[in-house]
Amino acid sequence: MSGHFSGLRLAYESLRGHTGWGRQWGSSELGDEYDVVIVGGGGHGLATAYYLASECDVGRIAVLEKGWLGGGNTARNTTIVRSNYLWDKSLALYDHAVKMWEGLSRELNYNVMFSQRGVLHVAHDEGDIRLSRRRCNSIRAAGVDSEWLSPEEVKELVPIINLHGRFPIMGGVFQPRGGVARHDAVAWGYARAASGLGVDIIENCEVTGFDVKRGKVVGLETSRGKVKAKKVGLVVAGHSSRLAELAGFRLPLMMNTLQALVSEPVKPMLSTVVMSNGVHGYMSQSDKGELVIGGGTDLPVSYSRRGGEGWFSSTTASIVELFPCIRRMRVLRMWGGTVDVTKDRSPILGKTPVENLYVNCGWGTGGFKATPGSGHLFAHSISRGEMVEKAAPFGMERFREGCLVDEGAASGVAH
């Protein structure tokens, strides 16, 4: 295995031609029986497995992944991290994650390149200002950082923004602790740390059925054979409805395509993340220099991971209005992923109608930011058999009870 990463180790390896790094995580065969099986080897699933192994005393743990680790939405998102949501329940959930991001590289001994360069939501008209300031105050009241910036302060922070264009900038809400992280490193860091603690990580292993006895899950059928499991956690984002159907229940989700694109790489020109809910677009600059651009989802239910052309023209048109200097830049890559969206734009963390089967899904267009917190809370909830405090408001029963955590307005389209 790869051992501990450090500056000293890097120096030592550089002297011997970097031949001693080894594989970062073990590849395991599927065992016969586990105490907890996590279905889905993306960021959230791997984080859940890691915290189960490191903080909860649960015995043998496996992660089953249909494809390869972090190959779904973990690889496809725009890596934005923030916690400036409207409601206290969401603030507690997402800020738990931001606090964990702050110590994550050290915790995992893996550089996840978390860069707290701030996240700015700009406001374009009077209504936008009122809503944004309300949200800003609500976030501050909950003890999370949030600042209102005047147009001049926005310009100082983002010199390339056009204050007086078709979408005038009338201010903005800024969260300095927000930022971006390296998405692949998050999956790999959790996989390496979990594997080091004895978690079996099994790739190319698709779950094809659930063994349910008297309303309780006791095992899984997979493309690599049957496995017994005392508890199962489903963390499969865009495939949640399919797996729930195999287990015999339905989830309050819609599967949509979310697209993103990057430009050709250029020298540093944008030092923060700029989002606009008003024009449905956001932009940041990656460490490689590419401008990372995203917007809203395509509307039809889809698993194609290819979006419509309409998204591209409307998103880039808005972004170019905000940043006219980029209008002649070329697009390098454009891609899509299948996101699991709830009607209240909040995730689902909780129990299911099948006993000992837990679900973590519905993160929709903004799950990456929550990865450490989601895994941490889900691990402790599975281990206890009861949802822990910060996760408790997010059970799927909230849709039946009418107790929604409506973040439609606060999260808007830009995540």
Binding site: S241, L251, L299, P300, Y303, S304, G308, F399, R400, E401
Partner: protein, 99 residues
């Protein structure tokens, strides 16, 4: 870009249309319990394969209609008006032709 065959206007680009929801969702009577009502409001089939969508032709005739669409390959298998007899899904039609 999808090309959608509006039953009134013919085939047009997707940009002229608006997708609304999965097709043929029936509103239950208000006397049903919370479970059935929340199922009607929030739960969807999310079919991986051929499905029936509800679209409207916003930039054209502004009418609602149903489209047969494959959610993985983006193929369009036809469209039909509200109230018409349901055409079989392309996969069902293929199966019938084979048998």
């Amino acid at each position: 870009m999808l090309y959608i065959p509006c039953p009134w206007c013919g085939e047009r680009e997707e940009l002229e249309f608006h997708y609304h929801d999965e097709g043929h969702i029936v509103r239950p009577d208000v006397s049903v319990g919370d479970g059935e009502w929340s199922s009607y409001l929030y739960e969807r089939e999310n079919v991986e394969g051929w499905q029936r969508d509800l679209w409207s032709h916003d930039a054209g005739c502004r009418r609602y209609f149903y489209v047969l669409r494959h959610s993985v390959t983006d193929e369009i298998g036809g469209a039909y008006k509200v109230g018409e007899k349901l055409p079989p899904l392309p996969v069902e039609a293929e199966r019938e032709m084979g048998s």
